[in-house]
Structure formats: C-alpha cells, structure tokens
C-alpha cells in the first residue's frame, strides 16, 4: 500500500511519509490487542482507507500537482524522443564515417548504417525496458523532481550531441570528403533514416504498453 501511494503522482513525499507514520502507529496500537503482524497490517490499511479515494482527496487539496506532473512527463517524452534521435544519428554518422575510412563503399556502407541504427534502437529499447521493469527502481523515482532532473539532463545531452554531430562531424569530416563519396554517404544516411522510421513506432508502442501494464498491476506490498 505504501508503495502504491509512493508511486502516486497526486501525493508528495511529505504526504506519503505522514500516512506511513500513521500506519505504523496504528499497527503498534493494534499489536497490543493481541493481533498477529499480518492482521494488524490488514486492519491498519483498512482503517487508513482505499488508495484511490485517498488519492482523490489529496488531489482536491493540490489540484496543480497532477497538472505539473503530467506536464513534466510530456516534456520528458518530447526530449527523450529527440535524445534518442540524436544519439542514433550520431552513432550512425560516426560509424559510417569510420566504415568509409576503412574502405567500405555502397551498398555495404548502407548495410552498416542500417545495422548501426538497429543496434542503437535495440540497445536503447533494452535499456528502457530494464529501467522500467527493474524492481529495484522505486516508483517514487517517477515523481516530479526526478522528472525535471531527467528533462534537464536530456536537454543538455541533446544540445551536446547536436553540437558534436553538426560541428565536429560535418565540418571536420565532410569538408575533407570528395563530392562523389559524399553522395554514397548520403545514400547510407537515407537507409539509416528509413530504418529509423520503421522501428520508432514499434519502440514507442512497446514502451507505452510496458508502462500501461505496470500501472495496471501495482504492487500492493508492505
């Protein structure tokens, strides 16, 4: 129950802490009546009230909390999209350039670009899957302050990658590349973009399904 409340976007840390102290005090009192640990816990939870109603009542007191929380997650979603986009493009461009320097030409350069894209998506997807599915990650980490920190980090990373991709890659490498080779490189990038467009909807749908599944079966523990 405490974990369910801790994961709520409508309750702050102080609210959860206050309810937890209440629950513990009630359990201590009930233990003096001779009930077992399990019984005291069940009775104390019952007296505290069901979580959905509690969330509703707390939301009435802090109506702005829900709005700002959702807004921050929307920001994370948008920033996350651009972060993944830039990470993937950066990895593809750099690796394709490396392939070019090592003597690879179309169509192998295009195959390499696609392979890099697929690997990048698979890695990012697996990491996200692990993060969201990990039991060690407390649901409290899905709250506003952390969400804002992640947004800030994502924004900084996007700027850094954009600068790296545009300034370093385009200026230093493309400037030294003959025009006919550049067309080969552009073709490879085209294939990479195609791979991106093909895989992205599946990645997003998978993540949304994972989050929805976790929210449908909240862990009612301790």
């Amino acid at each position: 129950m405490a974990r369910r409340l801790a994961g709520s976007e409508l309750l702050g840390d102080a609210d959860v802490n206050e309810l937890e102290i209440h629950l513990r005090e009630e359990m201590e009192h009930l233990k003096t009546t001779g009930l077992s640990d399990e019984e005291t816990f069940l009775v104390a939870c019952h007296r505290l009230g069901d979580t959905a109603t509690l969330e509703q009542e707390f939301a009435k007191v802090n109506p702005r909390r829900r709005f700002t929380n959702r807004l921050s997650w929307m920001a994370i979603g948008v920033l996350g999209y651009f972060l993944v986009l830039h990470l993937s493009l950066w990895a593809t461009n750099t690796s394709t350039m490396l392939g070019y320097v090592l003597g690879l030409r179309t169509p192998y350069l295009a195959f390499l670009a696609c392979a890099i894209q697929v690997t990048a998506f698979a890695t990012i997807g697996a990491l996200a899957w692990w993060y969201l599915g990990s039991r060690s990650v407390s649901r409290t980490t899905r709250r506003m302050p952390v969400a804002l920190c992640v947004s800030l980090f994502a924004a900084c990373a996007i700027v850094a990658l954009w600068l790296g991709d545009n300034l370093l890659f385009r200026y230093l490498l493309i400037e030294t590349m003959p025009i006919q080779d550049y067309s080969q490189f552009a073709m490879a990038s085209g294939w990479a973009s195609f791979g991106w467009g093909l895989l992205m909807p599946f990645l997003i749908a998978g993540l949304i399904a994972l989050i929805a599944l976790r929210d449908r079966h909240p862990s009612e523990v301790q």
Partner: protein, 113 residues
C-alpha cells in the same frame, strides 16, 4: 449507532480546530481523540483526516512543524493559528445555533393525535 457520513464530514473541521485549541497535535492523536470523544461511535476513514488538515493549513487556519515526540519518532504536528481560533469561534456559534434549535424541537412533547 454510527453517525451519518454527511454529519461526520461537516463536523470534521470544527472537531479538528477544537482539538488543536487544546494543544498542538498530530494526525494519529487527533483521530484517537475523536474516537474517545464519541465513544467510538464516530469513525473516520483515517487517511481522510490528512487532506482536511492540509486544506486547513492552506487556508491559514493551522500551521505545521516537524518534531520528535516522546517515542523519538518524528511526526508532523499541527498548531492552531489566530485565524483558526477565529474560525473555531464562528463554527461554534453556528453549531450551537443548530443545536439549540434541535433541542427546542425535541424537548417539546410530541402531539400524538
């Protein structure tokens, strides 16, 4: 006999303010006091007390602070503010008005014909 939900909800604010008028207190102690006062007839869903306390704090009627009680456990205590004392007086006069009106009606012998 248990008290109707509407009446429990309506009396929550004056009860909390009146308990805090007797000294600073925290959530669990307030609920215990209400149980004692009503002889266990008036039961709140414990968790519902906190949104009420937070609303009163938002309205400036009470203020909160953290303190470790006798057990050494840190709790959030609530204290009545001047505005709260004024609000309590207002609640008291309103409830007394209702009480007196009902008292007069119920003290009158019923007409059975």
């Amino acid at each position: 006999m248990s008290v109707a939900k509407d009446l429990v909800a309506a009396s929550a604010t004056p009860l909390i303010l009146a308990i805090l008028a007797g000294g600073d207190s925290y959530g669990y102690a307030i609920i215990k006091r209400v149980r004692e006062l009503s002889g266990g007839q008036m039961t709140w869903t414990d968790g519902m007390l906190y949104p009420v306390l937070h609303r009163l704090e938002k309205q400036g009627l009470v203020e909160s602070y953290r303190d470790a009680g006798e057990t050494g456990r840190e709790r959030k205590y609530y204290r009545l503010r001047k505005e709260g004392t004024r609000a309590l007086a207002e609640h008291r006069s309103q409830w007394m008005l209702v009480h007196n009106a009902l008292q007069q009606l119920w003290e009158t012998k019923p007409c059975l014909t």
